[in-house]
């Protein structure tokens, strides 16, 4: 029977066709997954607007009390501080309790710095390009540039400490692995990690694994080392949740109407509409 023969042929066909189709699909994927020279895998799509999950306690895995928020008296985390830096942290925690641990960014113009840039409120964008990835935090605003064009870190004599340091990275599949060095660190609490009083030194550096773990989540796993401040590696993970399609990020011009300057004692003031302090 012709029909039966056709049916038989058709039923046989998938096994042959699947091999051909599979090979074709492989070629298509390989083509899509390569750059114009056919040497680079496709870059992941991290487009859209993202917001950090949870409040601005940097190390939420160790914060005490567990519901504590940065800036609330008595809240602390547990980085593997050396004794000297643990003492600094305790001093800062006391300053928080006294309301005299000012946030350096209150001056409007001071960057949050790394790793704090991964720990700010408002929203984020992750711009993936062939030569660099840009982490753009609306708050601040702040930009972390991570070069992925194969360059290495500059020689030490070509570097100077900065708030966000210097970051270079490479792709491991869909994971961006980058190294950050040359950080300014905290001298007199001029750069902080969060408002519990966390600070790091100018010897701090980090290796970060940034990846999209699912449709709605980007994750940053940071391994922080600091030969002056830490006894061992400090591992902190932050997550960012995708915001609804069409969400906007806006200008954040901090100096537009800053009514909260810091007085010489470290107290954050509250100005009235006439620009004079309301504080008693």
């Amino acid at each position: 029977m012709i029909i039966g023969s056709e049916v038989k042929s058709v039923t046989r066909l998938p096994s042959v066709a699947s091999v051909i189709a599979g090979a074709a699909l492989f070629c298509v994927v390989a083509t899509i997954g390569a750059d114009a020279q056919g040497t680079r895998p496709a870059l992941p799509d991290w487009s859209g607007i993202w917001a950090m999950q949870g409040p601005t306690v940097f190390d939420r895995a160790s914060v005490q009390p567990p519901t504590g928020r940065a800036g609330e008296p008595g809240v602390r985390e547990a980085p593997p501080y050396t004794d000297e830096w643990e003492a600094k942290y305790r001093t800062n925690i006391d300053l928080v309790r006294q309301g005299k641990f000012p946030d350096p960014v209150s001056t409007c113009g001071t960057p949050h710095g790394f790793p704090r840039i991964m720990n700010v409120p408002d929203v984020y964008e992750f711009a993936v390009t062939p030569a660099a990835v840009y982490v753009i935090a609306e708050n601040g605003p702040n930009v972390l540039r991570i070069y992925t064009d194969g360059r290495k870190h500059p020689a030490s004599e070509d570097l100077w400490p900065t708030y966000n340091g210097a970051s270079v990275g490479q792709w491991e599949g869909d994971t961006l692995v980058f190294s950050t060095i040359s950080l300014k660190g905290s001298k007199d609490n001029d750069v902080i990690v969060d408002r519990t009083g966390l600070v790091l030194s100018d010897a701090s550096r980090a290796t970060t694994r940034l990846r999209r773990v699912d449709e709605n989540t980007i994750e940053a796993q940071m391994v922080i080392e600091d030969a002056k401040a830490l006894k061992g590696q400090w591992r902190v993970t932050k997550r960012y949740v995708k915001q609804p399609a069409g969400t906007w990020a806006w200008d954040y011009a901090c100096a537009e109407n800053n009514r909260n300057p810091i007085d010489p004692s470290g107290k954050t003031l509250t100005l009235g509409p006439d620009g004079k302090p309301l504080d008693k």
Binding site: E72, D103, D251, A253, N258, T268, L278, D279
Partner: protein, 127 residues
């Protein structure tokens, strides 16, 4: 019954405000505000300063004929706009009931929590 519901709502608002803490203030320490206290006042809006890093709701509180201007600080216009606020949300002359965390030192300012408009009963913020 209405009174009980009102008190329950206020208690929930207070609990929510305490649970949220000072996170609304993304740019400076919130140590000046008493997060454990929620003040509720009927006020007249003077101006909404729709500016970064924080919006400021300038209101006039009339207590026994004595009028005082208060400054209530909110989040950034960026964040608030994503929560439904607009620059036109508050207009001069609007009569609203506001809830805020007062300054610890008793000065005429606070951290905005929420507001209810007298004209139509609509609310904004945490209410």
């Amino acid at each position: 019954m209405e009174r009980i519901v009102k008190r329950l709502n206020l208690a929930l608002a207070i609990a929510f405000a305490i649970s949220l803490g000072p996170s609304v203030l993304a740019h400076h320490s919130a140590a000046m505000f008493d997060d454990a206290k929620v003040v509720e006042k009927k006020v007249t809006v003077k101006e909404l300063q729709w500016t970064n890093p924080h919006v400021w709701l300038q209101v006039v509180i009339d207590e026994n004929g004595k009028k005082t201007e208060w400054s209530l600080e909110g989040g950034s216009p960026n964040t608030l706009s994503r929560q439904g606020w607009r620059a036109s949300t508050f207009k001069a002359g609007d009569v609203v009931t506001v809830r805020f965390n007062p300054m610890k030192d008793g000065s005429a300012a606070g951290q905005f929590i929420g507001a209810k408009f007298e004209a139509d009963g609509k609310t904004i913020g945490r209410w």
